[in-house]
């Protein structure tokens, strides 16, 4: 392992890395050691064209670009000398020669590397009197992205991304010199499953997403770390939150899960959090067969009364449950505890929705925690559905409505035969039509807890927003239901931290893997994963 010196500090770095890569490996890049850069990106091939990352290396007469210079044992690098500063100022000045300097009306302002570096490393005034190059505004590159040629600094991250990550290669540089522009080929729009990542990696305001642009100034957003719940990959995200509303997901780097990327479908799935079809009111089915909104406690009391009546009449075996693959491990463990307390623990399953997958990030399971449900002992929904069909089940506690997915061979009519369907759900569905008790549930962005991705990696979610209505996490609702039934599942009120620790005590795979131990990047389940 080569030992190098950067700004008088000595570091051991991996062989075969370039200086910028080594700094990135050490976690020091722009986080202790400032080597500003535009074209270099940790997950894309090296371009070496923006020339901003020049550093001084002992033994080299000229400054060298840190992105493409391999480390060598004994290399002595300086990143803050006058020569380096002059070179950076020079590059920054040249980058701004054709830039419109329209930060006040640019949507990237506040998270723009051109703006940031111009403040940090640039000169204080412009020397150019020349007109800017003619360039197009608001170029429609495809269904998701709008391009502003004026602001583009031609770092070509977007071009390399399309070639190297989705492999679709829609973008290219058309023309030469200062008349170069990023372009798509005629009738070949930028349209791939990962297209919106180009807006994240665009260091300037050239590429913006149609979904987010001009919705809000980014400095009003709080970035809350979380996990995309669109599929079982569990891509790490930042939820951009303001006014108790999620405005966007942007990928959060996790080299073990999603590197720095996420798919467009997952990215846009934030919209479900504040969607109009959120289930907002607790409801009971009245004598006339219609659902009526009631107070939460009234609904809970009715659910408890119905369970108690059924168990008193026919024993606990008539109570069955369907877990939700969207709920947290903590919610699902609470369901398991409730069923155990009722004495009917084997009568439960989980229905996981399926869809399209690819070799990159998109997984077939369209739920964030199917693997967690399986790790917690929930099998497929078949046995539960069979018992409903056979009449052996009289009460169903359903978390979510994924069982209606045609793949499982059940529609809402199947559930009419039940005496009681208690539905805990975050969004409206056809299952409500046959439910007797309906209780609103939270979504992952409103909870503290953990989710287990397809590879058995346990990742933390935390409340980014509060629901606009009274709703509890499924675990809390179930705990309250248990209390109403006189059953003790856990000590005290709902405490997802305590529940998270309790999982490890009961399920060996979760030993030591809980909401406070998994950190920002998650931890794998112990032993063979789910």
């Amino acid at each position: 392992m080569p030992r190098i010196t950067i700004d008088d500090q000595s570091y051991e770095v991996a062989d075969g890395r370039t200086i910028l890569q080594a700094l990135d490996d050490l976690g020091l890049l722009m986080n202790g050691v400032d080597v500003p850069h535009y074209c270099w990106h940790p997950k894309l091939s090296i371009d070496g064209s923006c020339r901003l990352c020049q550093v001084e290396i002992e033994g080299f007469p000229k400054l060298q670009i840190a992105c493409n210079t391999p480390v060598k044992d004994g290399m002595v690098i300086r990143t803050q000398t006058d020569r380096v500063k002059t070179a950076r100022e020079g590059v920054m000045e040249l980058l701004l020669v054709n830039h419109p300097l329209d930060c006040p009306i640019c949507d990237q302002a506040g998270e723009c590397k051109l703006q940031d570096y111009a403040y940090e490393y640039g000169a204080t005034h412009a020397r150019t009197r020349e007109p800017r190059r003619p360039a197009k505004k608001k170029v429609d590159l495809g269904p998701t992205i709008v391009f502003d040629q004026e602001r583009c600094i031609l770092c070509r991250r977007c071009v390399r991304f399309c070639r190297e990550v989705p492999g679709t290669g829609e973008l290219m540089v058309q023309g030469r010199g200062d008349h170069s522009v990023i372009e798509t080929a005629p009738d070949q729009p930028l349209a791939n499953d990962y297209s919106m990542n180009v807006a994240d990696i665009c260091p300037v305001g050239a590429l913006t997403t149609k979904d987010f642009r001009f919705k809000i100034r980014v400095w009003f957003l709080e970035d809350v770390p979380g996990v995309c719940t669109g599929c079982s990959n569990g891509c790490n995200v930042h939820l951009g939150v303001a006014n108790n509303r999620v405005y966007r997901y942007v990928p959060r780097r996790n080299d073990a899960v999603n590197e720095t990327w996420m798919c467009d479908e997952g990215r846009l799935s934030y919209a479900a959090i504040g969607a109009a079809d959120r289930l907002r009111e607790p409801q009971l089915r009245g004598a006339d067969g219609r659902l009526v909104a009631v107070a939460f406690d009234a609904a809970l009391e009715e659910a408890a009364a119905r369970i108690r009546r059924a168990v008193d009449a026919s024993g606990p075996g008539v109570v069955v449950a369907l877990a939700s693959p969207h709920a947290t491990n903590e919610d699902l463990f609470t369901l398991r505890r409730l069923l155990e307390a009722l004495g009917t623990s084997s009568a439960a399953g989980v229905a996981v929705p399926n869809g399209r997958s690819d070799a990159l990030l998109i997984k077939a399971e369209k739920a964030a925690n199917g693997a967690g449900a399986r790790a917690l002992g929930f099998g497929g929904p078949g046995p539960v559905l069979d018992r409903i069909r056979g009449g052996g089940a009289r009460v169903l506690i359903a978390l979510g409505h994924d069982v209606l997915d045609p793949a499982h061979g059940a529609n809402e009519e199947l559930f009419r035969s039940l005496d009681t369907l208690i539905l805990l759900d975050s969004h409206h569905s056809a299952l409500e039509r046959v439910a007797h008790v309906v209780l609103p549930a939270r979504v992952a962005a409103e909870k503290l807890g953990t989710l287990t991705n397809h590879a058995g990696r346990v990742q933390r979610v935390e409340p980014a927003v509060e629901p606009a209505h009274l709703a509890y996490a499924e675990g809390e609702t179930l705990l309250r239901l248990a209390r109403a039934l006189g059953l003790a599942l856990f000590e005290g009120p709902w405490d997802p931290r305590a529940v998270s620790r309790a999982i490890g005590a009961a399920v060996p795979a979760f030993a030591g893997v809980h909401v406070d131990s998994v950190g920002a990047e998650g931890l794998p389940l112990r032993g063979p994963s789910a």
Partner: protein, 432 residues
């Protein structure tokens, strides 16, 4: 059609007036291919490399890198196929020597390539010919076909076990495809944009294989070096710059054309003795000595010997030997506008300094020429040019900066007059 043979000939071009010399038979009649046969049958590749090193041959494509040393960078062994590339893109404005070599001496080129291939262990050579060079490409392709039919190229060169194939490709028309790694990209069918280094072509060249790139004229010297010896070659030219070169003289001279002369020939001799001086008896104002990317020399420096060691002392270089003469009627701001327009248009646009600097300089120069210059524009130009030097992937940015620096170094008064008068003081100037 074809270009006129050089007015002054030497060992490279002495038979160029004879059309038969372009044919295999005619070339062999003058002793052609004997040097290659000698190399393949009597010399080891190392001996060939050493002989070329000993000759002191410097590349004739512009940078003047020692050819033997370049060949020795090729990795030994046969782990991967190795390639030679002949840079026949000749896109430097003012240069037209490779064109005549290909039109009149295509077999000389092929023989040089064969020797280089033997020396470097290359199994294939790609000749990348400038797209506009239809006739040179036709001649070289005809020569390749002749040599292949004769067994001088192919599976068993001269009946030996050495295998060598030559493939000609015509470029698609960008100056930057003459830069060796831009050429490699273009050769591979990609956009001609220079590659960052490392890796260097000798490690990762054409199609990812170890590759050496040499200029047309460079190859053409090699058969002569092998047949007459390194000592003979070193006896021509200067101590540090041996051999002849073919100067292309253009601009304000009575007899523009090609002149094969030893390196170290004085610039004034080239202009006044060989190219017959300036029309109308006017005075020389400035001379670009080696293609447009080389800084200009003022009239007071015409006694310079045309070899890098002397030209460097005057802050310029031999480049490709394309000599452009400008007389006293020339507006040097106009010259700057034309040069900067060319580089602005031809910059590949990858590196910030080059992409933005070429455009900025061109806009400032145009503004000065229009009469809207400011006194501080001159220093601004020098500052921008300074930022463009030595900081980019390839030497294009330097090549764009140097000529403007040269104009300001020697003809600052032209620029100042434009600013002071608010107009161009040269009424005869051509329209931009």
């Amino acid at each position: 059609m074809g270009l006129e043979a050089p007015y002054v000939t030497g060992y490279l071009s002495e038979h160029f007036a004879d059309a038969a010399y372009a044919t295999l038979q005619g070339y062999q009649a003058k002793g052609g291919y004997e040097a290659a046969k000698k190399a393949l049958k009597q010399m080891s590749p190392t001996q060939v490399v050493e002989e070329v090193k000993a000759s002191g041959l410097q590349g004739r494509g512009g940078a003047g890198f020692p050819t033997g040393q370049k060949w020795s960078f090729m990795p030994p062994g046969n782990e991967k196929p190795k390639y030679l590339v002949c840079n026949a893109d000749e896109s430097e404005p003012g240069s037209f020597k490779d064109r005549i070599l290909m039109e009149r001496g295509p077999h000389l080129l092929l023989e040089g390539i064969l020797i280089g291939a033997w020396a470097t262990g290359a199994e294939k050579t790609f000749i990348y010919v400038r797209g506009e060079y239809a006739e040179p490409a036709r001649q070289v392709q005809r020569a390749i076909d002749e040599a292949t039919a004769k067994g001088f190229l192919g599976a068993n060169v001269f009946g030996t076990k050495f295998r060598h194939e030559v493939v000609l490709m015509r470029g698609a028309g960008a100056y930057i495809c003459g830069e060796e790694t831009g050429l490699l990209e273009s050769l591979e069918g990609k956009k001609g944009q220079p590659r960052k280094k490392p890796p260097f072509p000798a490690q990762y060249g054409a199609f990812g294989m170890p590759t050496t790139v040499n200029n047309v004229e460079t190859f053409c010297h090699v058969p002569h070096i092998l047949s007459r010896g390194a000592a003979w070659f070193k006896g021509i030219g200067t101590d540090k710059s041996p051999g002849n070169t073919i100067f292309g003289v253009s601009g304000h001279v009575n007899r523009p054309g090609l002149y094969e002369l030893p390196l170290g020939t004085k610039l004034d001799a080239l202009i006044f003795e060989h190219a017959s001086g300036v029309p109308g008896g006017r005075k020389v104002k400035g001379v670009i000595p080696g293609g447009m990317s080389m800084p200009i020399l003022p009239a007071g420096m015409l006694d310079v010997p045309m070899a890098n060691e002397f030209l460097r002392e005057r802050k310029t270089m031999l480049g490709t030997g394309g000599v452009m003469v400008m007389d006293e009627t020339t507006c040097m701001v106009r010259v700057g506008c034309v040069i900067s327009y060319f580089f602005r248009d031809e910059s590949c646009g990858q590196c910030t300094q080059c992409r933005e600097g070429t455009g900025w300089m061109n806009k400032v120069l145009n503004r000065i020429e229009r009469g809207a210059g400011n006194p501080d524009d001159l220093d601004l130009l020098l500052d921008v040019a300074g930022k463009m030097e030595g900081a980019t992937i390839c030497a294009f940015s330097d090549a764009a900066a140097w000529p403007i620096q040269g104009l300001l170094r020697h003809f600052r008064e032209d620029f100042e007059a434009h600013v002071r008068l608010g107009r161009c003081p040269f009424p005869e100037s051509f329209a931009l």
